[in-house]
Symmetry: C2
Amino acid sequence: MDLECGSQEPVKQGLLARGWLKIKALSNNVKAEVFEFFRTLRKLGQDDPRRVVHSLKAGLALTLVSLFYYYQPLYDSFGVSAMWAVITVVVVFEFSVGATLGKGVNRGLATLLAGALAIGAHQLANLTGRICEPVVLGFFVFLQAAISTFARFCPKIKARYDYGLLVFILTFSLISISGFRDDEILELVHKRLLTVLIGGSTCVIISVLLFPVWAGQDLHNLIASNMEKLGIFLEGFGDEYFKMSEDGESKEGISLLQGYKSVLNSKNNEEALANFARWEPRHGRFQFRHPWKQYLKIGALTRQCAYRIESLNGHLHADIQAKPEIRSKIQSTCTEMSMESGEALKELSMAIKTMVKPFAADIHIEHSKSAVKNLNSLLKSGLWDDEPNLLEVVPVATVASLLIDVVSCTANIAESVHELATMLNFETVEPTVLRETEPEI
Amino acid sequence: MDLECGSQEPVKQGLLARGWLKIKALSNNVKAEVFEFFRTLRKLGQDDPRRVVHSLKAGLALTLVSLFYYYQPLYDSFGVSAMWAVITVVVVFEFSVGATLGKGVNRGLATLLAGALAIGAHQLANLTGRICEPVVLGFFVFLQAAISTFARFCPKIKARYDYGLLVFILTFSLISISGFRDDEILELVHKRLLTVLIGGSTCVIISVLLFPVWAGQDLHNLIASNMEKLGIFLEGFGDEYFKMSEDGESKEGISLLQGYKSVLNSKNNEEALANFARWEPRHGRFQFRHPWKQYLKIGALTRQCAYRIESLNGHLHADIQAKPEIRSKIQSTCTEMSMESGEALKELSMAIKTMVKPFAADIHIEHSKSAVKNLNSLLKSGLWDDEPNLLEVVPVATVASLLIDVVSCTANIAESVHELATMLNFETVEPTVLRETEPEI
C-alpha cells in the first residue's frame, strides 16, 4: 500500500503540474489574444480618428433619444412608442452624413407610405367581415412582402432604396395586422411617424453638426489617393526594374511600391461612397448635385491603369530577366515614360485634391508621350541587329509595351480629370515650378 | 374687343394643344419607364428564378408569424411582444441559408447577452437611488453604444458579428431604459427572447426546408464559373487575335469574349459568400467546416489571371498591330498556349463543379508548358534576323509574354485546385476522352 501510495503521489503531482502548465498556457493564449484585440482596436482608432468620434456621437445620439423615457412629460405623450425613436437612432446612425441621411429619408418616407397603405388595407379588410378579415389581411401582408422583397433584387433600387423597402415591409405588416380599432390605428401611425421623425432628425442633426464625415469628401479623397498610389509605383518602377539588373534584387524597394494593390479592388467602395454622397447637401466645395458619376468614371479609368501596373509588377518579380546590355538600350526612355506618367498621376491627384486645373500634369503627359515616340524610333533603328536571340528581348519589349499602355491610360485619366475640372470650374493656377521647361526659357 | 378676342382664341388653342402634347409626351415617358421597370423585374426573375421563390418564401414566413396576432390564445400570451417576432422575420430572412442563419444566431445571442447585461445595469442603477438612476443608466447606454459602435469597425467582427452588435446596442438600450419594475423587466426580457427565437427559427426552418439557397453552393459555382469565363476568353483569343490580321477586325467575336470582365471585381462577392457559407450546416457535398478559405485562395489566383487577360484584351483592340508575316511566325505556338490554358481552366472548372480530381486539366497544362518551351526555342532561333525593326515585333512579343504569364497563372490555379481536391477527397475518375494523347496510343 505504502509503496503504491508512494508511487501514486508523484504521478498525481505530475498530473497537477501538467494541468497547471496547461491552464497557464491557455491563460497566456487568452491574454495574448485579448492584447492583440486591443492592439487592433487602437490601430483602428489611430488609422482614422473619426471612428472614435463617430462612436462617441452614436453614444450621444442614443443617450439624447433615451431622454424620452426619463423625462416624464415626454414619456406621457408617447408611451411605448418612444421605443421607435431609440430603434431609429440605432439603425439609422451611420458613419457618413450621406449614409445617415439616406437611411433617415428612406425610413421616414417608407414609414409614411406603409402607414397610409396599411390603414387602407385595414379598412378594406374590415369591410369583409369578422371571419374573412384575417385572411384578407394575411393575403395583403403576403403580397406586399413578396413584391417588396423581389423589388429589392433590382440593382438600382438596392443601391438607394434597399433600407426603405425593408422598413416598408416592416411597418406595413406591423400596422396592418395589429388588429386595433380604427381610431387607435390612426393614432398608432401618427405616433410611429412622429417618433421615427424625431429619431431620424436627431441622427441627422448630430451627424451634420458634430464633426461631420462627408461621404462625398471621402470619395473625392479616395479617387485622388488611388491615383497617387499608382503614381508612386510608376515613379519607383523604372529605378527598381533597371537597378535590379545591376545589383541584384532589392526586396525592400519592391515592397514599398505595393501600395497600388488596394486600387485593384476599390470598385465597390467607390460605388458605395457615391451612393451615399448623392444624399448629401451642399458642403464645403461640394454641391448637392455634384458630378459623382464623373468621379466613378475617373475611378474606373484608374483601375484600368492599375491592371496594367499589376502586370508590370509581375516583371519586377520575374525569374527570367533580360541581359543588362539589352535593358540598358531602352533604360533611359523606359524610365522616363514611367517617371513622367507617375508624376502626371501625382499631379492629377494633387489637382483633384486642391481643385485646381491640372496644367502641371499636361506637361508630364506631353513628356511621357514624347518618350514613347523616342522609344518607337529607338525600336525602329538598327540598334538591335546584333541581337538575333529574341528570347532575351521579349521581357524588355513587354515592359516597354506595358509602359506604353500605361502612358495612354494616364492620358485617358487626365482627359476625364479635365472634364471634371470643367464641370466644377476648378481654379486656374499657372504652375509656378516648371522645372522641365526651364531650358526653353 | 372682338378683334382682340379673335386673336386670343387661336393663341389659347395653341397653348392648349401644346399643353396636351406635353402631357401626352410625359405620359408616354412614364409609360415607357414603367414598362422598362417591369422588363427589368422580369429579367431579374428569369436570370435567377430562385429570386422569385425567395420572395414568396419571405411572404410566407411573414404571414406565418403574423398568426400571433390573429390567433387569440397566442396573442393573449405574448401581447405586443409578438411584434418582435414580426420584426425578426423581416430583418433576419435573407436570400441564402447561411446569411439567414448568421443573422438569426447573431440576433438570438445578442438579445440574450444584452438582456442579461441590461438587467444587471438596471439593478445597479436601482441601487443608486431615484435621482441618480437616470444618470447612471444614461451613462451605461452611452458607454455600451460607443464601445459596440467602435467594435463594429474591426474588419473581423464586421464580417461575422456586425448585425449582432447592432442588435446588442438596440436591446440593451431598450431594456435598460424601459424603467419598469424588476419583475416586469424579467418578463420583458423573457418574452423578447422567446419571440425573437420564434421569429428566427421560423426564418431558418423555411429557409432550409423550402427550396434552400446555400451560399456555399453559390460560392462553389461562382469560383468554377469564373474559371470557365477565363477559359472561354483564352480559347477564343488565339483565333481572334491572329484572324484579325488576316481579315480585318471582327467586333462580334470580340464582344463574345468579354465575359471575363466580371471576374475582375468579384472579390467582395466571394468574400461575402464565404462569410455566409461558414454558418451553414452540412448539406449535399459540403460539410460544416468546408475549406472555404481554399476557395477564396483559388478565387484570388483566378483574379490574378484575369488581370493578365485584361492586358491581353487590350491587344485585341490595339490600333497598332504587328505585320502579318511576323505574327504568323509565332501564331501556332501562341494559339496553342492560349487554347491549352483555356481548356485547362475549363477542365479545372468542370473538376470543381463535378468534384472530380482534375486529371484532364493536367494534360492541358503540360501541353501549354511545352508550347511555352517551343515558343522560347522559336524566339532563340535565328528566324528573326531579317527583322531589324523591333517596333513591329514588340506587340507580338508582348502578347507572347502575357500568354506565358497566363500559362504560369493557370498552373498556379491548377495547383490550388489540386490542394482543394486533396482536402475534400475528390473522386478519382480517369479521363475517358484523351483526345490529345490519342496519337501516343
